[in-house]
Symmetry: C2
Subunit: 337 residues, 2 copies
Amino acid sequence: MKATMIHAPGDIRLETRPDPVISEPTDAIVRTVATCVCGSDLWPYRGDNDIPEPNPIGHEYVGIVEEVGSAVSTVSPGDFVVGGFLYSCNDCPTCHAGMHANCPRGGGYDGCQAELIRVPLADGTLVATPGAPDRDLIPSLLTLSDVMCTGWHAAISAGVGGGDSVVVVGDGAVGLCGVIAAKQLGAERIIAMSRHADRQDLAHRFGATDIIAERGDEGVAAVRALTDGIGSDRALECVGSEDARRQAVDSVRPGGMVGLVGLPHGGLEAERLFWRNKGIRGGVAPVRAYLDELLPLVWNREIDPGAVFTDHYPLDRVSDAYAAMDQRRTVKALLWT
Amino acid sequence: MKATMIHAPGDIRLETRPDPVISEPTDAIVRTVATCVCGSDLWPYRGDNDIPEPNPIGHEYVGIVEEVGSAVSTVSPGDFVVGGFLYSCNDCPTCHAGMHANCPRGGGYDGCQAELIRVPLADGTLVATPGAPDRDLIPSLLTLSDVMCTGWHAAISAGVGGGDSVVVVGDGAVGLCGVIAAKQLGAERIIAMSRHADRQDLAHRFGATDIIAERGDEGVAAVRALTDGIGSDRALECVGSEDARRQAVDSVRPGGMVGLVGLPHGGLEAERLFWRNKGIRGGVAPVRAYLDELLPLVWNREIDPGAVFTDHYPLDRVSDAYAAMDQRRTVKALLWT
């Protein structure tokens, strides 16, 4: 099969690798239909992570089940399936608590920007769509593998509910999906912080009521001007930088809550949170926990997160897809396999 | 009037000070019936805070309204009143959001371990009881001034709800009130971390289902043994030390939430929280926000938080009360004025 390997920063190659095989009775083999490039794939691409040896890469996918192990009962060959960027058992106390990304039996894949992938614990990971999807629905289904569920996790972690004001920090694919999530969860005022006209347009289309281009103290002042002078009820931190985290924390009112899905490099100023009665919650999104709710929303075309894929490529142009993402020429790049 | 002054670490004196007077039309003067010593009063007593000059001290009280300013309409002379350890306007966006401790017009008193106190913004701060309370009810009413509402805030901040498992870190008055709060909010399993037999007894009386005497990793292991191996749904951090905060964070399961009311010296390890999908929320308790719910519970004798006052003193023995608190001979010392 063809599979994407990263050899060094900036060096992405589509190569031939052995087809994956069923190695446990709980495995499935999925022939991908589409996969994509994630912001976190850019970390090694940009040299932020070490690459001691050539590595398969990619963790988002949708596809068709090719083969299942003897213990797999919920999906069958021929099913179109969605699966999260981590596999999970969906049958332990941690999964029962809805925290599948922390499943002690779970883990990651051997590269998903590929034609075939082995999905361990298939019953706990994959969800079949009600039928074969129209092709134009596939991008939105693909977002369920990561960014839509991650934006949703930010909103759930922040406790977004009816009537809330919500600031979304980050106008990448996750932040934009956070806008969709906030709207679905009933937020009344959704303030997207964005400086880019194309992303502002997407944010508006997804439900943002206000756009703020300013950052830092000016950005906070702009938020307060929209929120009775005290700040928003919730903020979604969808970047992962210290600046973004501070922007989110400073944007919420006393008693407000920050949903955190950007990996927080560095620490939190606990006293700063404490004296202003602000909370913070989040982490790696438990995709499987959200699929039952979000898959029907996509299937019934109530949400259209696939619009975050502002560029589509065939898999053999994966290197171009990385370059477009790296240079911010696209919000998120889809790869048809 | 007689009022308590702190002159230096360990040097508490009851002195004569001028009676407070109405200085704003929104003020009330309250003749205290009971006041008490707080764990935070021990910070200057133990030399943890500077005392550049002799200072009035104390911030918890119940009493009878003596006089009100011309703009006060909700309480009248003769009313028995409860008020929080900070005054608040109860009429701004921050108060409307339920975060009275962060009210921009609010603040602290000029010492409450005294016979008379001036309460600014009386309408936004004081709540009258339905009538004159029986004397045996006064200790529980007094806890509403701080510790009961602070324990409640820990539980609310942690999102305690029906069926939850809750670990309470700290067996002081606030932690014990946190046990009461967890029970009232429907927690099914309430695990109190305590090494002291008398406090363990109080915790049981207040609703704790389990007691854990171990700390650190052993304490965490003991929590997990009671909670499907993954940790509790919630933890209440009612101490304020780094060890206690870590105990609380480590005690909750992935997706769990820590309610924080102990002042967090030092920072939080954000990545540690993130990778385990744990959240943290809390701060200074918004007493006024909780009085409408908690005062009836005390008045109708559904909860008995006054039991945390394991010693009662007359005000002129305030120095003995501090010594008993400092030497941990009492959970919390009440002062009858």
